[in-house]
């Protein structure tokens, strides 16, 4: 990343290749919207380019990336709020997987239900779960992204799992 800062823009392409998928995954989990998530990935990388001089090399690149992503998300929700709430486009496109045997179909429905339940968690809980389960961040890294202590991260993850469990078992 330090190389990008001193103007080597080609390195930015490398970073994009390495990180755009996980970043997309994070944004998708936070919004449940495909198109917007892609727009936001673009937006995050644009901000990185613009503000690469603020990246001092202290702390990890990943932390910085999620910081920017959270700001972009905040703007996104603010805008969405202004334009009226648009329901997450839960795309239950019936993919043509052929006819699934009963057991597999059941499994698939169960997982889609779980995805829906994750989406219905409070943003705060969803965020820690997504960061620890899907983005493979260490608690210390999550703490740096969210600007809270490692202890607080532990408590939040615990709480989030319990919430998800309650939601999931209800269904």
């Amino acid at each position: 990343m330090l190389k990008v800062r001193s103007g080597d823009l080609d390195k930015m392409g490398l970073l994009f290749q390495r990180y755009h998928r996980p970043l997309y995954g994070f944004l998708y989990h936070m919004t449940s919207q495909r198109e917007s998530s892609e727009d936001m990935v673009q937006n995050v990388f644009y901000r990185m380019l613009r503000s690469r001089h603020t990246f001092t090399g202290e702390g990890e690149f990943k932390t910085w990336m999620y910081h920017l992503a959270r700001n972009v998300l905040k703007d996104h929700f603010k805008k969405a709020g202004r334009e009226g709430y648009s329901a997450p486009e839960t795309e239950w496109e019936i993919r043509d997987d052929g006819i699934l045997p009963g057991e597999q179909l059941e499994k698939k429905m169960e997982l889609e239900m779980l995805l829906q339940r994750i989406a219905s968690l409070s943003p705060e809980s969803r965020e820690v779960l997504v960061l620890s389960r899907y983005q493979d961040l260490k608690y210390a890294e999550i703490a740096a992204v969210l600007d809270i202590s490692v202890g607080a991260v532990k408590v939040r993850v615990h709480r989030a799992i319990n919430q998800l469990k309650t939601l999931y078992l209800q269904s």
């Binding site: 800062r5 001193s6 103007g7 823009l9 930015m12 392409g13 994009f16 290749q17 755009h20 998928r21 997309y24 995954g25 998708y28 989990h29 495909r34 998530s37 892609e38 990935v41 673009q42 990388f45 644009y46 380019l49 001089h53 603020t54 001092t56 090399g57 795309e91 169960e110 997982l111 889609e112 779980l114 995805l115 994750i118 779960l129 620890s132 389960r133 899907y134 260490k138 608690y139 532990k154 408590v155 993850v157 615990h158 799992i161 998800l164 469990k165 999931y168």
Partner: protein, 287 residues
């Protein structure tokens, strides 16, 4: 089992599944799971949930993202090459890296501002208070204004030197390079700056920084102190790149004093062959 303890441990369950616990926490957790049925059951439910979460399908981003990104990068690159970074850009970078500078600059500006106001309103000649001074000050203004302006520009100059010296101490090589490039904005360098630059030239771990410093110093070669320092630096340099660059500089300056250290350099074992040839050529043209 103490339920209070269990509650505390349950907080660690997620970390246990996620492999985020320290060795000690992990051992304790596992020992506890072995004896506490309630926690074991909770762990099992959590674990199943955790595994299921891993199987949830997440759509992959579309391929057009890469295309969009490449287009954006290209546009940005063009914008950048069209716009030459000005002094403002460098200042902004400086502040971005060292937020402390913002305060320092503000403070200096305030002090300078107040100082200027005070000087302008002070009656010419000594004595007198603030109040009645204005008119008289203006009347006999000319010379005093000039003097104040000089003081002021001297202060600005001094500040630039301070920034330069601070940047030379920075652990990041690119910061130090920027520090060196500051010399182009300082008309006359004083002894402190020369010494700092010479010490960078001789001791900086980074080749690029030393090269840039050498280039900056050659601008002040008419100063005998700088000349002397450059000559002495010949034997300090171990990198072939620097040795060759110094030989070039000596040739350009037609510095006869360099002959002796260059010859000494030739005696050194393990001298790079290219450098050896270069120095031999330089010597023939110097003598």
């Amino acid at each position: 089992m103490n339920s209070m303890n269990c509650e505390k441990r349950k907080e660690l369950l997620a970390g246990w599944m996620d492999n985020q616990l320290t060795e000690a926490e992990r051992a304790e957790m596992e020992a506890h799971l072995a004896i506490c049925a309630e926690c074991r059951q909770e762990m099992e439910t959590n674990r199943r949930l955790w595994v299921s979460m891993g199987e949830v399908p997440v759509p992959a981003p579309s391929d057009k993202m890469q295309v969009r990104f490449d287009a954006m990068l290209e546009t940005y690159r063009q914008e950048q090459t069209n716009r030459r970074p000005g002094l403002f850009f460098y200042l902004r970078q400086l502040f971005a890296v060292r937020p402390g500078f913002t305060w320092a600059y503000s403070l200096v500006l305030i002090v300078v501002g107040v100082g200027l106001g005070y000087f302008l309103n002070r009656p010419a000649g000594a004595g007198g208070g603030f109040g009645a001074g204005g008119d008289r000050g203006l009347a006999s203004g000319g010379g005093a204004d000039k003097q104040q302006l000089q003081t002021l520009s001297a202060q600005v100059h001094e500040m630039r030197e301070m920034v330069l010296l601070a940047l030379l101490e920075n652990p990041s090589a690119s910061e130090r390079i920027r520090g060196v490039s500051y010399t182009s904005e300082i008309k006359a360098v004083n002894k402190n700056v020369v010494n700092a630059l010479l010490s960078t030239l001789n001791n900086d771990p980074n080749n690029n920084v030393r090269l840039i410093t050498l280039e900056a110093l050659t601008h002040y070669a008419e100063d005998p102190l700088v000349r002397e320092g450059l000559v002495q630096s010949i034997l300090h340099q171990e990198s072939p790149l620097m040795q060759a660059a110094l030989a070039d500089v000596m040739l350009k300056l037609q510095e006869k004093k360099a002959v002796r250290p260059l010859k000494e350099l030739l005696q050194q074992k393990g001298l790079n062959e290219m450098v050896r040839t270069k120095i031999e050529q330089t010597l023939t043209r110097l003598i």
